[in-house]
Symmetry: C2
Subunit: 329 residues, 2 copies
């Protein structure tokens, strides 16, 4: 099994490579070759017994997609992209990386011609959706993104579906919930505070909350995100029909409910590390977010995630903190 990961140095890319190395196989076939593409050097996962080839380059540079695809990987995880805040701030870069990059990859696959049809797992996003929202968002709710990032994700979904329909690849787009609790340093995603108000207090540090307690989001842990990717890479996609992208399961929680779960996990002292600093701009951005999904298509296909925010905190404590919460007092 030869696997290509684009965006392999990112948070999910690293976790995915680690899991592929640890599992040693994907869908019953031994993981022999890992090609790890990113514009910053990706670290080959510790303990991987096969061949890991890093490619430090940008998918939009001519020839890079061809180089990445030269070994005709069986499975492609396409995670590369600039995040929401950056795509909005740098209009040209967002379209270049998130749209042209995806197209360059799909074109490189297509040019391998008839007879080659790799599984392509594309990470789309909750940003595919745009207000106004019903109370419960069903699988057939329309995608009307209201950010550059969301627009680029939906365009990539459309390309994925069309290339799949034409038999050039076998694609599935998984719309990730907000990934929470993101480990490590904050990135430029506008949604970063959902993680930092949990992550920093659990590490005994202060965090800033820029929105009100009633803001509701749809969350899944990094561990669940990786499990979605692995599951998407191995299942029969025939039941998807023509609609190749779908929302992943998650936990619907308000910021207030997140904080209540933090209190149960780490006590009042941890909650006391959250400093409320209302930001009208950030609040406006999250005034109408899709917070509640009925993900029955994903459930029918076997995708699973946490069902409580307590479980999301527990996953972080196990995976990132060695099972230990450092109390602030």
């Amino acid at each position: 099994m030869h696997i290509l990961i684009t965006g392999a140095a990112g948070m999910i890319g690293c976790e995915l490579a680690r899991r592929l190395a640890a599992d040693g196989a994907l869908g019953g076939r031994a993981n022999a070759v890992l090609t790890l593409l990113d514009n910053v050097a990706p670290s080959p996962p510790v303990g991987f017994v096969g061949t890991a080839t890093p490619i430090v380059a940008d998918l939009t540079t001519p020839g890079v997609a061809e180089t990445a695809m030269a070994g005709r990987p069986d499975t492609v995880f396409h995670l590369a992209g600039v995040v929401s805040g950056e795509a909005e701030a740098d209009f040209e870069k967002g379209y270049r990386v998130n749209l042209d990059g995806t197209r360059a990859l799909f074109e490189a696959i297509r040019r391998h011609g008839p007879g080659y049809r790799p599984r392509v797992v594309f990470t789309s996003s909750i940003a595919a959706y745009g207000a106004p929202f019903p109370d419960m968002i069903e699988d057939d709710f329309l995608t009307t993104p209201q950010t550059c990032y969301g627009t680029q994700k939906v365009i990539s979904e459309l390309l994925l579906a069309d290339y799949t329909r034409r038999g050039m690849l076998d694609g599935i787009g998984i719309r990730l919930p907000n990934i929470c609790i993101r480990p490590g340093a904050p990135n430029r995603a506008a949604s970063g505070f959902f993680s930092s108000i949990m992550r920093e207090p659990l590490a005994g540090q202060e965090a800033v909350l820029p929105v009100c307690d009633d803001v509701r989001m749809w969350h899944a842990s990094p561990r669940s995100a990786v499990s979605f990717l692995l599951h998407a890479a191995t299942i029969d996609l025939t039941p998807l029909g023509a609609r190749r992208s779908l929302m992943m399961p998650g936990v619907s929680a308000t910021v207030g409910e997140q904080i209540a779960a933090l209190r149960r996990a780490a006590g009042d002292a941890a909650v006391g590390m959250i400093r409320r600093e209302f930001d009208p701009a950030v609040s406006a951005m999250f005034a109408t977010i899709p917070g509640r999904f009925d993900t029955r298509r994903a459930a029918a296909l076997g995708f699973r995630a946490e069902t409580t925010f307590d479980a999301i905190i527990e996953a972080h404590i196990q995976d990132e903190l060695g099972g230990v919460v450092r109390m602030s007092s």
Copy 2:
């Protein structure tokens, strides 16, 4: 008023230019300058008193979009594109013209920078939709195209919405019904028979019907298509909110209902000119088409079309046949 039409040599482009010349004004402002872009030479409309500048070039050729936009037109009608059959047959050309061409145009608009925000009327298509369909398709039905052409149209709609949201243009995408009865020679659109089984008999000629009588389609006349474009160019778009593309009104009719209307307009002899020659491939393509829409958003914005297929035939007889049906016997 300076108006740019891309695809100005096409059927709708020609009709539009003729109407703009005849009306002499758009939204109360005199039509002083017409820029007519197409890759085949567009004819300046007869009787136009302003300056008409043809540009014979392809939008995807570097510099062409910039040349077309150099005069900073107030209104842009973006009609250019390859049709469904051709976009499916020539994968690369379809994406180049229908996606890269649109992007080149929007980028040329964006580069004129803050303070310039032209009205852009984009002709999208019923091909934006994909099966499975409900009996009645509502305005919030999702767009899941199942052709290259439809995919390229929906991607262009997404770009239109994003550039509009960012204040770079003021866009509206109008999803045209099947245009019926198309004048002139057949083009490479797979849906051509819906027109030819009316047009040819009305001109005393034989036509081939490749599908069964119960195939249902959503139709509007070329005259209505032009009225949609003119209306879209002049109305306040604020009520559209973030959802900048919408289905246009039309007439839902089966092939059998079309033929019944032909019989009422031109008698049994005309109907006798339709030769049934079942084509399994064409029939499969039209087995699941969206045939019935509730277009209340368009109605609320003032878009109007024919309400019977008889009126569609009557429009053709008036506009193309000088009011005269040539009987075949």
